[in-house]
């Protein structure tokens, strides 16, 4: 069986498991909660486990993930590293910020941009899927401005379509800024657009105060979710190729991870599944060890890094950046179990290509700076870009890359004689 076909089986299984978990947990109330959730604001940090409940959140994550998976199929896009990452990320953010209602206008906006430039939607599908990070912008316009409901939904949709239309042009420019060393490039792109959107809304009198819904309960379902999926991934990876999968897993550890690094393409499904499983397990163990919370944002983060284990993140390039964040937190006396640090430790792996390309010390420096920046960047963009760590990571990568480039160009031995 070809690798791609295995993924076509894996994702429906995962999505169906989420639907089953939703109804097993909350019964028919999961469906009612899911419908209610569509009409709620979702700016950072809105943990759907609090605002809607656990069952509705699982159902929402399944629906959001399925919409991404369906688009991949409909556009006949290869189900490989970037699409694997995108579907996992969309499912994860279905726990805190993305809803079916708030992602559709963004997707449609990117579709219009493709039509306008006479490209196929497939050429912009990665931008569209990750661009759904701007979902809270749609919800904010629709449900936080105090406008009458039918009009506000139309305005929210229009805002989403317009920003979606802008995404392809911005995404490519942002890529040039950090040269592929920030894995969540759409985080930087959406953050950049959110700066303007937040300024506009604030100028119009909107109050975009910080939101903080953070679930701290520890139901067994949430604690075991990532370890169980990780275990399944590792077993599937080993069953797929045995020794070859292990060898491919080792090969993945030697890659820098710089965008675009499709690990499924360069190695195999088996190697990537082992990488994803181990990254998920290590992440979950870390959260457990520091006494963190297995809530919407944390689970979303763990899903995201598992997804990106097919598209840039490996254990070898991730750990220096993570150490950098932890060192930064300890120096500045920010508790390791505080929400910001928990999320930064997980999402800082957006900078793992810096460690992969330039080594351990630059990786640690990147992580160190990342925590400082990400603590501020959420407020700048009004919490409307869900990939706030991608935004901060992009700025950190741009800063470091500019310096590395200047240093390398001007080193005496590199000058033209």
């Amino acid at each position: 069986m070809k690798d791609e076909k295995k993924l076509y089986l894996f994702f429906p299984f995962l999505i169906a498991s989420f639907v089953a978990a939703a109804f097993a947990y909350d019964g028919i109330a999961a469906l009612k909660g899911f419908l209610k959730l569509q009409l709620m604001p979702s700016r950072l940090l809105s943990d759907f486990f609090i605002t809607a409940g656990i069952g509705p959140s699982f159902l929402n994550a399944a629906v959001v993930g399925f919409s991404g998976f369906l688009l991949v199929i409909l556009t006949k896009t290869k189900l490989s590293g970037p699409t694997f990452a995108a579907v996992f990320t969309m499912m994860g953010f279905g726990f805190f910020g993305k809803t079916l209602l708030n992602i559709l206008p963004i997707l449609f906006g990117v579709f219009l941009a493709a039509k306008y430039t006479q490209k196929t939607f497939r050429e912009y599908i990665i931008i569209a899927l990750f661009g759904t990070a701007l979902g809270p912008l749609v919800s904010a316009i629709a449900f936080e401005l105090g406008l009458p409901l039918p009009l506000s939904i139309i305005l929210g949709a229009a805002g989403g379509i317009f920003t979606g239309f802008l995404l392809p042009s911005m995404a490519v420019s942002m890529l040039h800024m950090h040269q592929g060393y920030n894995l969540y490039n759409m985080g930087l792109t959406c953050g950049f657009l959110s700066l303007f959107a937040a300024s506009l809304l604030k100028a119009g009198g909107a109050s975009l105060d910080n939101v903080s819904y953070w679930f701290s309960g520890q139901p067994l379902l949430l604690e075991l979710l990532v370890p169980v999926i990780s275990f399944i991934l590792i077993v599937l990876g080993l069953m797929d190729g045995g020794v070859k999968s292990l060898s491919d897993f080792k090969k993945i550890q030697t890659q820098t991870g710089r965008l675009p690094s499709d690990f499924i393409d360069s190695t195999s499904f088996g190697g990537v599944f082992i990488n994803a499983g181990l990254i998920g397990l290590v992440g979950a163990m870390y959260i457990h060890f520091v006494g963190g919370d297995f809530n919407g944002p944390v689970l979303g983060g763990l899903f995201t890094i598992m997804g990106f284990s097919a598209f840039g993140t490996n254990l070898k390039n991730a750990w220096p950046v993570v150490i950098g964040v932890i060192v930064s937190a300890l120096i500045f006396k920010i508790p390791l179990d505080s929400p910001g640090v928990q999320l930064a430790v997980i999402f800082c792996t957006t900078l793992s290509p810096i460690a992969g390309q330039f080594g351990i010390l630059p990786g640690i420096i990147a992580g160190f700076l990342h925590l400082l920046l990400v603590s501020q960047s959420g407020t700048w963009q009004g919490g409307m870009n869900l990939y706030n760590n991608g935004f901060a990571g992009g700025l950190t990568a741009t800063f470091l890359i500019a310096f590395f480039q200047w240093y390398r160009t001007n080193k005496k031995e590199n000058r033209l004689r």
Binding site: I126, H176, Q357
Partner: protein
Amino acid sequence: MKRRELITHLISEISSYMLESDPMRLVISLHQEEDGLHLSVMDDAEHTDAEIEQMEKDLNSQKRPELAGYYGAMTGHDLLGSSRLNLLGWQVKHTDVTRIDKGIKIDFWLGGDNFDSRQFNIPEKK
């Protein structure tokens, strides 16, 4: 992307790659037609069989419109890190890597459906 931009980026990426082998001679030749083009790059550096095999693989990889349409924009903008042939491979119609007296020659063929690369003596598939 305009044709001129595309050609500039392709030449930048491939020449950056070839210069990593530190050749003493690098020749770039471009032949344009209305529906396509042929870009040929030659150097005089040492290349192992394994390297050539990997180049062939990267340059003739499966076409990935979803990656070419987005990450393909990085082609020719590589200022740090090593050059990546897969960025080129996603965007060209066909590539040949052949050994010449000293060094190698890489032939790129680009074009729309109307472009008949056989007119440029592209090897027939057996």
